[in-house]
Amino acid sequence: MPVAQIIFNALLLTMLYALVSSGLTLVLGIARIVNFAHGALYMLGAYVAYYVFQEAGLPFPLALALSVLSVGLFGILIDKLLFRRLAGQFFAAVIVSLGLVFFVEGGGALIFSEQERSIAPFVSGNVDIFGATLSVERIIVIFAGAFVMLALFWFINHTKQGAAMRAVAQDSEAATLQGVNFNYTSALAMGIGAGLAGFAGALLAPVFGVVDPYMGQTIMFKAILVITVGGFGSVPGAFTAALIIGFVESFGFWYVEHWVTAMLFGLVIIVLLIRPRGILGKEYIMRH
């Protein structure tokens, strides 16, 4: 069993899940929205990267930047147009976010065609570490992911806007009393969350090699597992859970292949039964 290979793969998955789930859990904790369309945002990021990098042949970092910007802006648009109007109506917001999945993925299928497109890796070459052959591309992706996560942590914990977000997540009313602009913070959270999803989509697209309009669905599934285990609204929780799930999946896949998904699901059920708030989450309060 090529342990190094499996660990390496686990790290890749961890970064992917951490990036996507952090965005999701951020939006959940601050804007109080379960954005089911988050996976679709991931897909959009991947497609932007496809068109910029693969089709237009522009440098990959540019593709990344454009993905983050466009998907992030799209996220803010969704927030302003749809979710802000449904503030406090949790149920309606969920329905709308589910409708958004249909809209974005259906729209994607219409515009991009259901045919999957392939993307070439952005760097080529492999290295040998500890007896495992690792592609340079994946190593870069892991480091890029880690860097962005660190940047996120820094932002949330050491900037004023980050403090505003934490305040809103804790108690939005008290936060507004302190002068925090709820709508602005909410939109910012949505923009960052969407940007993270777009970034992940763009970053991982050349690694996985293919994009199709429905690629967001599997990611959404995993992201949901991650935030449930990690705790709703908690970014460190999302990272920890991403780590756990990434490793369980990587090692599990080696032994039981596709059944690892059933294992993960079982894990989540257990978490829900024993500690529904997740590892690092606070009791999630639903505003009726």
Binding site: V34, F36, L82, R85, L86, F90, F91, A92, V94, I95, V96, L98, G99, L100, V101, F102, F103, E105, G106, G107, A109, L110, E114, Q217, T218, F221, I224, L225, T228, F232, E257, H258, W259, T261, A262, F265, V268, I269, L272, L273, P276, Y284, M286
Partner: protein, 325 residues
């Protein structure tokens, strides 16, 4: 009230005599889809009534469908026995899963049913016995009863109409009975219901099982109609469709709403010739518009128009008084 009753009776007559007017297989097919989608939407709404938004309804349809396909092909049992049996199996699985799932708050339930549907599809696709990637093919037609051998769509039409009638009557009886009121009270305020002594988890399980039972028998019908049982019929995407029918139709009317929603959306696609590719987009747009502008769904449209007319009248009245004053 009188107009509503007349309308319903008119629709019923149309439905029952429809095939005699035109037995074009294409339209038979479309209306069959409308009818079984209505059953799915109605049974889904029952689960929503107890306060849980289930995104796994298509998966439960799949449980019933695959169970039925296997029972008939592997055990050689007649469809007529397999149908209720698969419904029962689905209900039992719903009961087992519901036990841990219904204890958690709505948001968690939502998320976990979504995950369950995804999981279900993955399991089906990777287990040859349950169909594998291709699915179960060659699922036979329902066993013939006399001259009705299911070689024509008309036979399937009346079968699904019958099943729909059973569903409607059952749900109507449930909703107008004591148990129905318990369901509603649990849905409106779980804690309050518990505080007056209602065994919440027990009634949630009952409602959930009944809802999934109907999903299961619909699944059984579907696989024998299509002669096929594949994962693509039971995806999360399909669960979303079911939900859209129920909500666009109107959550306020537990039987009428889903039927109106399913029929309107599906017939809309047919009449406007909306390409399959654009369909999710159109449905999503309609859903979002409904949520923002017509929260209670299409079925509340006559009521809203009436209220709007009344307001207009009053406004005119006031203006006239102003003039004469």
């Amino acid at each position: 009230m009188q107009r509503k009753l007349t309308f319903i009776i008119f629709c019923l007559i149309l439905l029952v005599l429809g095939p005699l007017l035109s037995n074009q297989p294409y339209w038979m097919h479309v209306v069959i889809i409308c009818i079984y989608s209505s059953i799915l939407a109605m049974s889904w709404l029952l689960i929503l009534k107890i306060g849980h938004l289930s995104l796994a309804h298509a998966a439960f349809m799949g449980v019933g469908g695959i169970a039925s396909a296997l029972i008939v092909t592997k055990a050689g049992i007649s469809f007529w026995l397999a149908l209720p049996l698969s419904g029962l199996i689905t209900a039992i699985i719903a009961l087992i899963l519901g036990f841990p799932l219904l204890r958690v708050k709505g948001i968690y339930f939502l998320i976990i049913t979504f995950a369950f549907n995804e999981l279900f599809v993955i399991i089906i696709r990777n287990w040859k016995f349950l169909g594998g990637y291709v699915g179960l093919i060659g699922v036979p037609r329902p066993n013939a009863i006399g001259a009705i051998d299911f070689s024509s769509k008309v036979h399937y039409y009346y079968l699904i109409l019958f099943l729909a009638a059973v569903t409607v009557i059952t749900l109507y009886r449930i909703y107008t009975s004591r148990i129905g009121r318990i369901f509603t009270s649990i849905g409106e305020d779980e804690d309050l219901a518990r505080s007056i002594g209602i065994d919440v988890i027990r009634y949630k399980l009952i409602a959930f099982s009944i809802g999934c039972f109907f999903a299961g028998i619909t699944g059984s019908f579907l696989v024998h109609y299509l002669n096929f049982a594949g994962a693509e019929l039971f995806t999360t995407w399909q669960s979303l469709y079911i939900q859209i029918y129920a909500i666009v139709g109107g959550m306020v009317s537990v039987i009428g709403g889903p039927i109106v929603g399913a029929f309107s959306l599906i017939l809309l696609t047919e009449f406007l010739d909306i390409p399959i590719k654009a369909q999710p987009l159109v449905y999503a747009a309609i859903l979002i518009l409904i949520i923002f502008f017509l929260r209670n769904g299409l079925i509340s449209l006559p009521q809203r128009i009436l209220a709007w007319r009344l307001r207009l009248l009053r406004l005119l009245e006031r203006n006239i008084k102003h003039e004469t004053a």
